[in-house]
């Protein structure tokens, strides 16, 4: 007789009302039943996750969605609910960040607006593809492949760049800044516009494209895309670093708030309770992370972030390559209730 079976053996001494099953370690008081995710979670575990990811996001100036979504899936929340709910969490943490950058006037509103025009279309397209892939049963695979491809390549680039920068500063050479009058093909495109705060004069086409991709990727992967947007703005558009993070936060805020509403309307998958616990932990952790980050050297910080991004990418790759423990999975068919 297995231990689980044994529990069902009845004891006639307590013939009375139903008694509740004992909660897992940690006690029942900290368990909360999530109304949309349909499972009970430990409040402290979720809060600690928010705190830890918030710390990292504050330290590196990113949303942290690429860490939070896998953590929620690991906790047992379905991938679809995780992606939808994390967008709410990122909206909160990027809003608190955007406010502090706004106070320091480190936000280029006209650049953000142009990026957003692309971002809105991208988010809508992303939520649409998300809904389609979910019906097709290949959402998990798509999310995994995107994680491997994006995190793997961006992580590698960041590590290489940061190591080079560290080596350069060790050997005493001045840090090479790829700024100045160097023009690329991007500057030959039409529809040029001047962005005063960023001190750049570029075509709006690459700006829209970057915005579209951020919104699209964010909606599908449940990430704000800050770790992609920041390098894109620096390397492609040559936006000064101090303006980049503030502008990226405004962009992230708007796309993620939009994704929250769109996910709610189309898939009904945003769990407000889960989001609230994550948000409170996240915004708190972000404050401490920001302070820790300010005490570190820029290239060290970029190296650490690169290693982190790469590690998450490798983790997803291993899951795809190694033979899974259970080849079978079950999922309720949508719209057939």
């Amino acid at each position: 007789m297995s231990p689980r079976r044994r529990r069902y053996v009845v004891s006639f001494l307590d013939l009375g009302s139903a008694r509740e099953k004992r909660a897992p370690a940690g006690g029942r008081a900290v368990q909360i039943y999530l109304p949309i995710a349909d499972l009970p979670v430990n409040v402290f575990v979720v809060f600690a996750m928010g705190l830890a990811v918030g710390f990292i996001s504050g330290m590196f100036g990113i949303g942290g969605g690429f860490l939070m979504t896998p953590l929620l899936i690991f906790l047992g929340v379905s991938p679809a609910v995780s992606v939808a709910t994390v967008s709410t969490h990122i909206a909160a943490s990027s809003f608190s960040g955007a406010i502090s950058y706004w106070r320091r006037r480190a936000v280029d509103l006209s650049l953000a607006t142009m990026l957003l025009l692309g971002g809105f279309v991208g988010t809508a397209a992303g939520v649409g593809l998300f809904t389609y892939l979910r019906a097709l049963g290949q959402l998990d695979l798509t999310i995994s492949l995107l994680y491997v491809a994006l995190l793997g390549s961006v992580g590698t680039l960041m590590v290489v760049e940061a190591v080079r920068a560290i080596l350069r500063s060790r050997s005493g050479k001045p840090v090479e800044l790829r700024r100045g009058g160097s023009h690329t093909w991007l500057h030959g495109l039409p529809l040029k516009m001047r962005f005063k705060q960023s001190r750049i004069y570029v075509s709006t086409i690459p700006v829209w494209t970057i915005g579209f991709l951020m919104g699209f990727i964010g909606a599908i992967m449940g990430i704000g895309g800050g770790f992609l947007l920041v390098p894109a703005l620096i390397y492609f558009l040559r936006v000064p670093t101090n303006v980049v993070i503030g502008t990226s936060m405004v962009l992230t805020l708007v796309t993620m708030a939009t994704a929250t509403v769109l996910h709610s309307v189309t898939n009904h998958l945003v769990d407000a309770i889960l989001a609230l616990i994550l948000m409170v932990g996240g915004v708190t952790g972000a404050q401490f992370g920001a302070r820790a980050g300010q005490r570190m050297r820029g290239e060290r910080l970029r190296l650490m972030l690169g290693v982190l991004v790469l590690a998450v990418g490798i983790r997803f790759a291993v899951d795809l390559i190694v033979r899974p423990e259970d080849l079978y999975s079950i999922r309720m068919l949508e719209g057939a209730q």
Binding site: A18, Y33, P35, T88, A91, Q138, L141, S264, L327
Partner: protein, 257 residues
């Protein structure tokens, strides 16, 4: 010959006067399970007695009960991963149509010891013998018992405590008083549940019983779940505003200038 005639007479008497045979009286500790924020699963108590009629024949081996608890129906896709281009992706799949989301088979003894296999199969007693129709082209049909997808479906459902087989789940306190606990995990979906009771004696089905209960979200949980589905836009906007509010509060609380 004499015995056969006697048996026929007994059968006629049973058909004419059902009061003479045993009746299964049952009750549930609750007809309604409410999901509150602190819900972590629960157990319902099923209890009752076997009421013997005045002319009930003596039973040699005592009574046996098999209780089948089935939850709301759902359609489930079972997928199998296969290796394609070096990575493991969902390849083949089977759709199980309108199968119980929750299924528990509780009995006094393993069903195989209670009645003959063909009777068990006819009454669908036991997880192995429950009908699980699969979509096959435009039709639905159940497949052989050891179909790998069917086995995987049962295994995964059991690993989540949503399908339960407890061959010692019902106990007789006295020869006629029985009691069982129905384990309901936190993942048990909301909806109406049915308890189907079958009383056996000497390998034959002699009485049936039926109970129903319901699992429902309650209060705030119910409000949130309902508004997420019915007023998606309002729910999304409210959640987004909540996010902005949290972010704003944090920036005020932690302001450092």
């Amino acid at each position: 010959m004499r015995r056969a005639a006697l048996a026929a007479a007994a059968l006629a008497a049973w058909a004419a006067a059902p009061a003479a045979a045993e009746q299964l009286v049952s009750s549930l500790s609750s007809q309604r399970v409410l999901i509150t924020p602190s819900f972590v699963g629960t157990e319902l108590v099923l209890f009752g007695i076997v009421e013997r009629g005045a002319n009930s024949p003596p039973r040699r081996s005592g009574y046996d009960i098999v209780a089948t608890v089935s939850g709301p129906r759902e359609t489930i896709v079972v997928r199998r991963k296969d290796r394609m281009l070096g990575i493991w992706v969902n390849a083949e799949s089977r759709t199980f149509v309108e199968v119980p989301a929750y299924l528990a088979v509780l009995s006094t003894r393993p069903p195989e010891q209670i009645a003959a296999l063909d009777l068990l199969r006819r009454l669908q007693l036991g997880l192995r013998r429950t009908l699980l129709p699969q979509q096959i082209g435009p039709d639905t049909a159940d497949v052989v018992r050891d179909d790998p997808f069917r086995a995987a479906f049962l295994r995964l459902k059991q690993s989540r405590d949503l399908y339960v087989e407890a061959p010692d789940g019902i106990l007789f306190r006295t020869p006629v008083l029985y009691r069982a606990n129905i384990p309901l995990p936190a993942a048990a979906p909301v909806g109406s549940y049915e308890v189907d009771l079958k009383l056996f004696a000497d390998g034959a089905l002699i009485a049936r019983g039926r109970e129903t209960f319901e699992i429902a979200k309650f209060g705030f949980e119910q409000f949130l779940a309902a508004s997420a589905v019915n007023d998606g836009l309002l729910y999304g906007l409210a959640t987004a505003v909540l996010a902005l509010l949290t972010g704003w509060v944090a920036s005020v609380v932690f302001r450092r200038d």
